[in-house]
């Protein structure tokens, strides 16, 4: 992995003169997760990090940088967001340079913190072999990387970034993982309608409407024009009630239906840990069943809800 990091730095150094900015990862404050790094000068390149702690999807910064020549480092799943943004013409391919990587899984810092029982502030953390060695006020411990992976890694659709301009390292298959943890969606589907409603009422009761989920979402490109904060049209009011919060989450889910690549940024950003990606997963299942489509996998396809067709292949309205 060390040489892959060096190769990545070399590639960024070489490309940097022709680019306005390169987005990569650098060491974060707590050692459990790396943070975004915006490289504008060659000295920044030394800060670049690449290991399973590069969990954050950096594609969300791209629409805001439209008009600039941008380089971006991407894992396989991050590239799905890039594909989706390109499909929707929200970014320009010719302005973009993708440094693609082969990913062996990314860590979930919250999960690791819970497993190590150390909180998010650790004294030191380093990856050695297949383990993350952590030293915190509670002492030292080692967590197997496989146990600390993000839930999405168990559903990996491709570890190699695609689209890609410069691929760093070797191409390869996704890591072979067993025992995928049960998702919230699986649990919800076993519940009755009343139980589901109660579940969401409880969850939404905790939402503080900070809109971090929206700001982190790489596909929420309306941002300051979000319908949730508009009076004209006035979809959501300011009442502090699960009803309005659920309304906002429902809007977010519907607006990303058939677009969401399940990158998990909404849940990663949520300060109260709500399982809000579940709604998007549920809609994606419907999209898959109705249109046989998964977002961000094929840049040639048009997302099904962004086209008008007289007839849908998989929806049998008429027999002829």
């Amino acid at each position: 992995m060390g040489s892959q990091l060096e190769d990545l730095k070399t590639a960024i150094r070489q490309a940097l003169p022709d680019l306005d900015v390169v987005i990569a990862w650098a060491a974060g404050p707590d050692g459990l997760a790396h943070t975004p790094l915006f490289i504008t000068s060659e000295s920044d390149v030394d800060l670049v990090q690449w290991d399973p702690r590069c969990s954050q999807n950096l594609a969300g910064y791209l629409p805001g940088l439209r008009g600039k020549k941008v380089g971006i480092v991407a894992k396989g799943c991050d590239a799905r967001s890039i594909t989706e943004l390109l499909q929707e013409k929200l970014i320009d391919r010719e302005q973009l340079t993708v440094f693609g990587l082969h990913c062996q899984g990314a860590l979930d810092p919250e999960k690791i913190a819970a497993m190590a029982d150390c909180g998010r502030y650790v004294r030191s953390a380093e990856i050695n072999g297949g383990e993350l060695k952590i030293v915190s006020s509670k002492g030292a411990c080692a967590i197997s990387l496989e146990n600390g992976l993000l839930a999405k890694c168990f559903r990996c659709t491709g570890a190699d970034a695609q689209p890609c301009d410069q691929f760093i390292g070797e191409h390869g298959a996704p890591p072979v993982l067993k025992d995928a943890p049960a998702t919230t969606l699986d649990r919800l589907e076993a519940m009755s309608m009343e139980e589901r409603f109660q579940f969401w009422e409880e969850q939404m009761g905790q939402c503080i409407r900070c809109y971090a989920c929206r700001s982190a979402c790489p596909l929420c490109v309306c941002q300051d024009h979000c319908a949730a904060q508009s009076r004209e049209p006035h979809w959501v009011d300011q009442t502090d009630h699960p009803r309005e919060k659920l309304m906002f989450q429902a809007m977010h889910a519907l607006h990303t239906a058939g677009r969401c690549t399940e990158c998990g940024e909404c849940e990663r950003a949520c300060p109260v840990g709500l399982p809000i990606m579940t709604m998007k997963q549920a809609l994606n299942r419907q999209i898959k069943a109705l249109f046989d489509y998964e977002a961000g996998l094929d840049s040639e396809k048009t997302p099904p809800l962004f086209q008008f067709r007289e007839n849908e292949e998989h929806i049998k309205e008429r027999k002829w």
Partner: protein, 652 residues
């Protein structure tokens, strides 16, 4: 805002199961409602006068009428409020008839629901704004799709009215189904003798441009300004040079080509003129049968053609025609009887369709008007006609009556007797449907003067027997089994929607029923209009029709077009989308879902923004659903108006 509410009784239609007085009383409690009353017939002259009077007396700013569906009377009441001095869009309708009184019997529940629907209308009206229609110019040309008798009539009437007409026909000649018929009921006059002159009129009328062997490829635009792309399929003959002499067909060696015009009874050549009266009288090549086009060698027609018109390299050509209205007269097709096992499923050569029989009867047909069995060319003696083949049969999804089969079967028995005086016709029928002028008398004549034996009952099997056929059936009047030996069986196949009718409907954006027949605007009051402005229907594409009805509809559709074109400008509907520049982020999602191409992306101070072409927008609202941040709004159906309705219905 002062709102007035009028709750209509519609005689007993609404008042029978809705307490209209209570609904009016409940309405008074809704915000800004200053006047509410019940009224016997809101749409009647005194009903409308009452609305105008109330607007003036109570200084109303908007009116809610709770009555029938807006499709029935929204236009009526909009004119009413306009006469009262209000903007026509300061009006809302609550449908308490189709949505309430006609569908429920519980008066309390109905009254409650009616009051809630009025509440919704009031909340919507409170957020309505005055809208004004614009004007746009129209192109006074008309396209007629389909050159059967209905399309011919429509084209001639439009052309006589001074309009430029483009007539598009899929086959190489116009004439449609009627040109294949020998005689027509109930007068037994020669079909091509009465149709032929009309076809010649089409060819000679300077106002008519005729495209045969052509199909509509796409339709863009809107009433008054359609752009229609027409695919002119390759005939492999330069029609500007072809004189219709027929030398090419005489020399063509590919003489075993299936003959479409003759319903595949008999054979024709790969290059041919479909029938002597064809308009245009031009040869065309059947590419699948032509030796030159399939195997690359032959060229006999090139040598034969004195005009040098053969062009094997000819390709399809797309022409764009700009028209202001379209008349659809695409006709029907015949039911494929082979799915009925009891009639042999197409295995017996002497079990033929009624249209094939017409070609046998016709002097210009493959047997030159002599009735001969397809199998051995012998004259038949006993002929069995079976009616309702593919009509009135739920089991094959054709529950409807095709309407004309009873009549043409009777005609065919009469013609049979004329051709073969020694013959005997038998007709198996379910019921006789002969409601036209002179029609029942005609059936009686077939039975009484021409001796056709009518047997009320269905046929269960047709079996070959010693070179003839044994027809087993039931006589339901006598209550016993019948077995008849016959030489020829003629199946009165029913009508079904023309092949490709639904696909054409999608291009034209008109609706069609379960069977593929096009939907008229109103089954009684708008028989030739569609719900798409500027598109009209004529003939059997709307449902099976005989010749007199098709001709009448062709004329009716032409008169609608002439009426539409009597104005130089049309009013544009102000219920269209518009973009809020501040909110638009230029993501173009609205553009990708617009079925009408009404949205273009423009540059505004260096930023990409969506922009609606108001005259192209049809107000469908797809864009407003696709826009994530609500930047694009449909006038009269804004998010806030709809949300207000939802909140009225689902208070919390």
């Amino acid at each position: 805002m002062n709102i007035g509410v009028f709750v209509c009784h519609c005689g007993s239609n609404i008042a029978g199961t809705v307490d209209t007085v209570a609904v009016a009383k409940a309405a008074l409690a809704y915000p800004e409602v200053v006047f509410a009353t019940d009224t016997m017939y809101a749409c009647s002259e005194p009903g409308q006068a009452g609305i105008i009077e109330a607007v003036q007396k109570y200084e109303l700013d908007g009116v809610v009428v709770a009555s029938c569906t807006p499709r029935m009377h929204e236009a009526t009441f909009r004119r009413t409020v306009e006469r009262a001095g209000l903007n026509r869009y300061m009006f809302e309708m609550a449908n308490i008839r189709e949505h309430v009184s006609w569908i429920g019997k519980d008066k309390d529940a109905n009254t409650n629901k009616a009051a809630e629907l009025v509440h919704i209308a009031v909340e919507k009206l409170r957020r309505n704004t005055e809208l004004t229609a614009g004007e746009f110019t129209i192109n006074k040309r008309v396209m007629v799709i389909g050159g059967g008798v209905a399309g011919i009539q429509a084209a001639l009437d439009c052309a006589d009215g001074g309009l430029e007409v483009v007539l598009v026909e899929r086959e190489p000649s116009i004439g449609g189904k009627m040109s294949k018929l020998d005689k027509t009921f109930p007068t037994v006059d020669c079909s091509s003798c009465i149709l032929g002159p009309r076809m010649v009129d089409i060819a000679q009328n300077p106002n008519i441009t005729l495209y045969t062997l052509s199909e509509v490829e796409s339709v863009d635009g809107f009433v008054g300004n359609f752009d229609v792309k027409v695919r002119r399929k390759a005939a492999y003959v330069d029609w500007t040079l072809c004189t219709g002499c027929g030398e090419c067909a005489a020399k063509c060696p590919s003489k075993k080509t299936p003959d479409r015009f003759n319903e595949f009874i008999g054979k024709t050549t790969a290059i041919n003129i479909p029938f002597p009266q064809a308009i245009p009288k031009k040869a065309s090549i059947n590419a699948a049968a032509c030796l030159m086009l399939t195997k690359g060698k032959c060229g006999a027609c090139v040598k034969a053609c004195p005009a040098g018109a053969i062009q094997f390299k000819q390709e399809d050509e797309i022409v764009t025609e700009q028209v202001g209205a379209v008349i659809v007269a695409t006709g029907y097709d015949l039911f494929d009887f082979t799915q009925y096992g009891e009639y042999g499923g197409g295995r017996y050569p002497d079990v033929i369709t009624s249209m094939q029989y017409e070609r046998l009867l016709s002097a210009s047909g493959p047997t030159e008007g002599h009735i001969k069995r397809p199998s051995d060319g012998k004259e038949p003696k006993d002929i069995v006609f079976i009616q309702c083949v593919g009509s009135r049969d739920k089991s094959i999804g054709r529950p409807y009556c095709s309407g004309f089969c009873c009549m043409y079967t009777a005609k065919q028995t009469i013609l049979t007797k004329d051709h073969l005086p020694e013959s005997q016709s038998y007709v198996f029928y379910m019921d006789i449907r002969s409601p036209g002028k002179g029609y029942d008398e005609f059936i009686r004549r077939a039975m009484e003067e021409y001796g056709a034996r009518y047997i009320r009952g269905r046929v269960s099997a047709i079996q070959p027997k010693n070179g003839r056929y044994l027809i087993k059936g039931v006589n339901t009047l006598m209550g016993d089994q019948v077995e008849i030996e016959a030489d020829l069986v003629v199946l009165a196949v029913g009508a079904e929607a023309a092949k490709g009718a639904p696909q054409l409907a999608e291009k034209l954006r008109i609706s069609y029923d379960t069977y593929g027949f096009y939907m008229e605007g109103h089954p009684k009051l708008k028989p030739v209009e569609t719900n798409t402005a500027g598109i009209y229907l004529a003939g059997s594409c709307q449902g099976p029709k005989d010749i007199p009805s098709s001709v009448a509809q062709g004329g009716a559709a032409a008169s609608k077009v002439l009426g539409l074109f009597s104005k130089d400008k049309l009013a544009s509907d102000p219920q269209v989308s518009s973009v809020s520049l501040q909110r638009c982020i230029g993501c173009a999602k609205c553009q990708s879902v617009c079925p009408f191409g009404a949205i273009e992306m423009t540059q505004f101070r260096g930023m990409t923004k969506a922009s609606v072409i108001a005259t192209v927008c049809q107000g469908c609202g797809n864009c407003t659903s696709a826009c994530p941040q609500g930047a694009i709004q449909l006038s009269h159906f804004t998010d806030n108006q709809i949300l207000a309705e939802v909140h009225a219905l689902c208070p919390y």
